[in-house]
């Protein structure tokens, strides 16, 4: 499965959610950046990445997340992630992405951390 089924939701209260489904690899760049643009239509202060349906991510995918992080910082937004399996939580720690992205178990926790509940 490829990740051409990224969903974007306005969670209200200044937060937008990007639902990531399938794979995040180098081939995901257009889809992910397109979803980011769509998420920004409501001018949110926080972007939440939903990894619940992530099936596979390689190191190029991690690179894309770094680029996405830079874009959110440029727009003075906060980036959060939720729904990561234990395996991908470890990958976030290994790559030290967890130092820049707020990681939470559930959507509710992430929304609360974003101040959007």
């Amino acid at each position: 499965m490829t990740n051409d089924v990224l969903g974007v939701r306005d969670a209200g209260s200044g937060a937008a959610i990007i639902d990531i489904k399938g794979e995040v690899t180098a081939r995901s760049e257009d889809a992910l950046m397109g979803a980011f643009l769509e998420a920004n239509e409501s001018r949110p202060h926080s972007i939440l990445l939903n990894f619940t349906d992530l099936e596979y991510m390689n190191s190029s995918g991690i690179g894309l997340l770094v680029t996405l992080l830079v874009r959110t910082k440029r727009q003075r937004q906060q980036l959060f992630a939720f729904g990561l399996t234990d395996h991908y939580r470890q990958i976030f720690e290994l790559t030290r992405l967890d130092e820049a992205v707020g990681i939470h178990d559930t959507e509710g926790d992430a929304l609360a951390a974003a101040g959007a509940t």
Binding site: D53, M57, G63, T67, Q90, I91, T95, L97
Partner: protein, 266 residues
């Protein structure tokens, strides 16, 4: 697999069978790539390396990515077309097996003899301007059949992800690529990048890809693309300079006669 709605609703109790199924799905998802990632906790350690390899800036350091760096963030992509006679898997297999052979003269890569595998830590002894021998290293963060990625340790010139990959383009030809997502690790290295470091970096990877192409009997031109992803510097990371491998390598070199005297006095 959970749906969007499921992720928004409170967890419900599952039967034993449902729990087993969920765990099995989780295991399958994890197993697919778990072996491709390094398993590192805490500081880096270096395995057995040749006696001539300097290890003064790797053991005890942590790996760094662009988030931990100081300077502007760059994405540099170097790509070469290798035609249709070789597959991406063959390119990566060859690249992993002979990785040091493709480097420019004067630069040494001391990795495990078994090739490049996730979690490996290799030492680098690089020749810098002024003939300074800079000692640093890399962690093999990720490796599969079509790509492998390095992360750099604290003190390296760059806080970076360096990904080597091969893929089939839309014309059915195989391309090999090195992509570096980097920030200079500290203010001194940032100055060095602006003062010729970028040019040297570009020459390094162009040479590497030309040598890789030559390995397959090809003389190919390397395409280079450089994008500044973030113009802002991360001043909160200016203190990274305490690990600067150039400074520490310089002091180490200056101390060589003293160490030799100490050894001869024993």
């Amino acid at each position: 697999m959970a749906t969007d709605d499921a992720s928004r609703t409170p967890k419900v109790e599952m039967t034993a069978d449902e729990t087993t199924t969920a765990e099995a799905i989780e295991e399958i998802k994890t197993a697919r790539d778990a072996a491709n990632w390094a398993k590192v906790s805490g500081a880096l350690t270096v395995g057995e390396v040749p006696a001539e390899a300097r290890n003064i800036n790797v053991t005890g350091r942590r790996q760094t990515g662009p988030m931990q760096g100081f300077g502007k963030m760059w994405q540099k992509t170097y790509r070469v077309s290798l035609g249709s006679a070789v597959t991406p898997q063959e390119v990566i297999s060859e690249w992993k097996a002979k990785f040091p052979n493709f480097w420019p003269e004067g630069n040494r890569f001391y990795g495990p003899l078994t090739g490049i595998a996730p979690g490996d830590v290799a030492l680098l002894n690089l020749t810098m301007p002024g003939r300074l021998k800079l000692s640093t290293g890399v962690l093999v963060l990720y490796a599969d059949e079509e790509s492998f990625t390095f992360m750099t340790p604290e003190g390296h010139m760059f806080a970076a992800f360096i990904t080597f990959s091969a893929f089939e383009d839309k014309h059915g030809e195989t391309s090999a690529q090195a992509q570096v997502l980097l920030r200079a690790n500290d203010p001194l290295f940032e100055v060095g990048l602006a003062a010729g470091g970028h040019r040297q970096e570009d020459k390094f990877w162009v040479h590497t890809l030309e040598a890789l192409a030559a390995n397959f009997g090809l003389s190919a031109e390397v395409d280079t693309q450089v994008v500044c992803v973030d113009k802002r510097r991360q001043w909160r990371n200016a203190g990274n300079i305490r690990y600067n491998s150039a400074i520490r390598s310089g002091f180490y070199t200056m101390g060589t006669p003293i160490r030799a005297l100490r050894r001869s006095g024993r």
